[in-house]
């Protein structure tokens, strides 16, 4: 390949010929002090809130605080090059990021600059970062399911497109894993995925990108990173930037999924900024508007009405709790904003129940509206059954003799818990989930030994895929479980059970739990007491 010098020269010449000499008029101020990602500026008398400003080094900032005598600016970039006395120029526009199909498959920083070394983001479209959420008239109720591919989530706390479902739990309880599995499961659903990493170790983000690439998920995913070493202003802006990129697809009538990992770090970054700006601290030293900071972000996840194309943004914000303390400030805030939460518990996690979801206090406020009929049918009473099982289990530990009915209920419960375990990065199609939950709740597993439940599941699914694929297809097509279908299903189960021997299928699930188990060493011991 050879460069054509004439062509390049002609472009430059055109540019110079078209260049009109215009007087450059700008509004300026002077840096009074700078440090820790913020600058205080004297002047800029006409600057407006959230307007962008530019420093001589080319670094940009946002007018964050407008005071009587000075302007507080948050610096989006390297603040070490800025000096006291530098001239600051108001740009007269708002912060925006590049959006469009070109951002898919890319790894970007919160300003939309590529950091994956794959060249510039090829798009001319931009959206402002602090866009307003759609209003009441622009929305419609959530009705379409967003399959996470996790049996426990899809059956008991179903997520709909346009819903905000919080994932909350202590560190190392598999929060990111749920978000990741959900992204992996969107492979053929046409849902565009956005993973926003805020204040995380760059090594763990690199791990996440590797997993997404290995599973072919980067074809429909964008990763937005502001790592632990990036200045607080960028960490604060990152989720808004990610949402703007997702909104492009929502307003085009498509569906998007966005995972904020995690919002407690963003709240901490916002607290840092606010304290540096000398805004008064409130509870836990967070500023008074930290609630608004999260509510205006999560309000932008919506299901638009059909007139606007019916697009949606589903969001999975992640919140890290300390020692299971859900009553802390940020967790209660985000719980009250979202449409439900998946609560992950360390003791369940270490007991091998993964995903470590506490069924009793995990809810989805959209509920059955976001499930296919067949799933609603089979999983209807599952949540309550499991909750009563937990109670019974605690009671049974007292060592009293149990009658046969109670023992039966307990055995069923143990098998359901076993059945809801799922390996990481192995999302399950919804039809198979329906089958397995049907098998479990209708008692077809009661005669299977407890350790054999997962191998049995693998063998059964192989059998169904090989011999009864039409059953799965019909569940997918109709979305419902008709009496006729149910009869066929029962027949298939009977047929499998009569022919089943443990040697039939190779085990495919057992390599599951070791992925996360490696990190157990540096954990504190989980609470020994059983929680109901």
């Amino acid at each position: 390949m050879k460069f054509n010098a004439d062509e390049i020269a002609s472009v430059l010449q055109q540019e110079i010929e078209q260049y009109e000499s215009q007087l450059d008029v700008r509004e300026v101020g002077t840096v009074l002090e700078v440090g820790d990602g913020i600058a205080r500026v004297y002047g800029l008398s006409g600057v407006m809130a959230s307007e962008m400003v530019e420093f001589p080094s080319g670094v940009q900032g946002l007018a964050f605080n407008l005071e009587e005598n000075s302007v507080g600016v948050i610096i989006l970039g390297d603040y070490l090059e800025i000096q006291e006395g530098d001239e600051v120029k108001a740009l007269g526009r708002l912060l925006s990021v590049p959006v469009g199909e070109a951002v898919i498959g890319r790894v970007l920083d919160p300003l939309g600059n590529p950091i994956d070394g794959k060249g510039p983001v090829d798009t001319n479209e931009r959206r402002i970062v602090e866009a307003m959420a759609p209003g009441v008239a622009a929305r419609q109720p959530v009705s379409e399911p967003l399959q996470t591919g996790l049996k426990a989530v899809d059956s008991m706390t179903p997520i709909g497109r346009g819903q905000r479902e919080l994932i909350i739990g202590d560190r190392k309880t598999g929060k990111t894993a749920i978000g990741l599995d959900t992204i992996l499961n969107q492979k053929d659903s046409g849902v565009k995925c956005f993973y926003v990493a805020i204040g995380q170790k760059d090594s763990s983000v690199a791990g996440v990108i590797k997993i997404l690439e290995d599973h072919g998920a980067m074809d429909y995913t964008t990763v937005i990173i502001s790592g632990a070493s990036t200045p607080a202003p960028l960490q604060y802006v990152a989720p808004y930037a990610g949402t703007s990129m997702a909104e492009y697809f929502m307003y085009k009538g498509e569906h998007a999924l966005i995972v904020y990992d995690d919002l407690s770090k963003q709240a901490a970054a916002y607290r840092e900024l606010s304290l540096l700006m000398r805004r008064p601290p409130g509870r836990e030293a967070y500023p008074g508007d930290v609630f608004y900071c999260h509510s205006r972000l999560l309000e932008r996840s919506a299901k638009l009405n059909d007139k606007l194309g019916g697009g949606s943004i589903t969001s999975l914000p992640i919140i890290e709790t300390l020692e299971g303390e859900v009553a802390a400030y940020i967790p209660t805030n985000v719980i009250s904003i979202t449409d439900g939460q998946i609560y992950l518990q360390p003791d369940l996690f270490f007991a091998g129940i993964r995903p470590a979801m506490n069924v009793g206090i995990s809810v989805s406020r959209v509920g059955g509206a976001a499930q296919i009929k067949a799933m609603k049918n089979v999983a209807g009473g599952l949540r309550l059954d499991l909750a009563s099982f937990r109670e019974l289990e605690a009671f049974a530990q007292l060592g009293t003799d149990l009658d046969a009915a109670t023992q039966g209920q307990l055995d069923r419960g143990y098998r359901m818990v076993e059945l809801l375990k799922q390996s990481q990065y192995q999302p399950m199609p919804v039809a198979e989930q329906v089958l397995m939950i049907y098998v479990g709740t209708r008692g077809y597993l009661d005669d299977v030994e407890l350790p054999d439940v997962q191998p049995w599941e693998a063998r059964f699914l192989t059998f169904i895929r090989d011999h009864k694929a039409d059953l799965l297809a019909e569940i997918v097509d109709t979305g419902a479980l008709s009496d006729e279908l149910e009869a066929q299903l029962v027949a298939a189960i009977e047929q499998f059970k009569s022919a089943d021997s443990p040697a039939i299928a190779a085990v495919e699930t057992d390599d599951a739990e070791q992925d996360e188990a490696t990190t157990v060493d540096d954990q504190e011991q989980p609470a020994a007491t059983e929680e109901s």
Partner: protein
């Protein structure tokens, strides 16, 4: 940049706020005694000549260890008869309130407020080479007529501009310098060329692979 940055470094927003209030009071008092020009000139001289050459004197007046009574006596001894009475009284008031440290801010604000009242505006003109008197006057009269205000011209020279001038009125900068235009051309050409490259990579490369 470096030369005009110096005075701003001393800017202190809290003191400036106090300075504005005291300056307004001094202007009011001086207007009623018809000695405005004199008072302003003397304040400027006090801060720029006396305090600048005798920093110890400044420290003395600012020090909270020296009582107001002593300061008052010193003020009387040093300035009585040589200074407008209004200004001397004003200094005593400032001293009684323990705000002598705000004096530079007061001085700064005094001139600004006086200009604002009389429809005068300070315009900073930076050029690549020193301007001759004729150009200066022409500029001042042109600016005065377009701004409809009396213009007080502050002229600076910065060879880095290459050519043209930069005019600064308040916080607004009108940049007609050659350096800025060159920077703009550079930026735009670069942006345009990258865009062209992105849109049609093959246009810039010939087919042969030698």
């Amino acid at each position: 940049m470096a030369d005009n940055a110096q005075p701003d470094l001393a800017y202190d927003s809290d003191r400036q706020q106090l300075g504005d209030v005291y300056a307004r009071a001094l202007l009011g008092a001086a207007t009623s005694s018809d000695s405005i020009e004199e008072v302003i000139a003397q304040t400027e001289s006090l801060c720029q000549d006396l305090f600048a050459s005798n920093p110890k004197l400044k420290e003395l007046f600012e020090s909270p260890r020296i009582s107001h009574l002593e300061k008052e006596q010193m003020l009387d001894k040093a300035f009585h008869g040589r200074m407008e009475t209004t200004l001397l009284n004003f200094l005593k008031v400032v001293s009684r309130h323990g705000r002598m440290d705000c004096l530079p801010a007061i001085e700064h604000s005094l001139r600004e407020q006086y200009n604002a009242i009389h429809g005068r505006v300070k315009v900073e003109v930076t050029s690549a080479t020193a301007l001759d008197d004729e150009t200066r006057e022409l500029m001042a009269s042109q600016l005065s007529s377009s701004l409809q205000q009396q213009v007080e011209l502050v002229v600076k020279v910065n060879p880095d501009l290459i050519g043209g001038t930069i005019v600064r009125i308040g916080d607004t900068v009108y940049d007609g310098s050659v350096a800025n235009r060159l920077a703009k051309i550079k930026h735009e050409t670069r942006a345009r060329t990258t865009m062209e490259f992105q849109q049609a990579t093959e246009r810039f490369t010939s087919a042969e692979t030698s």
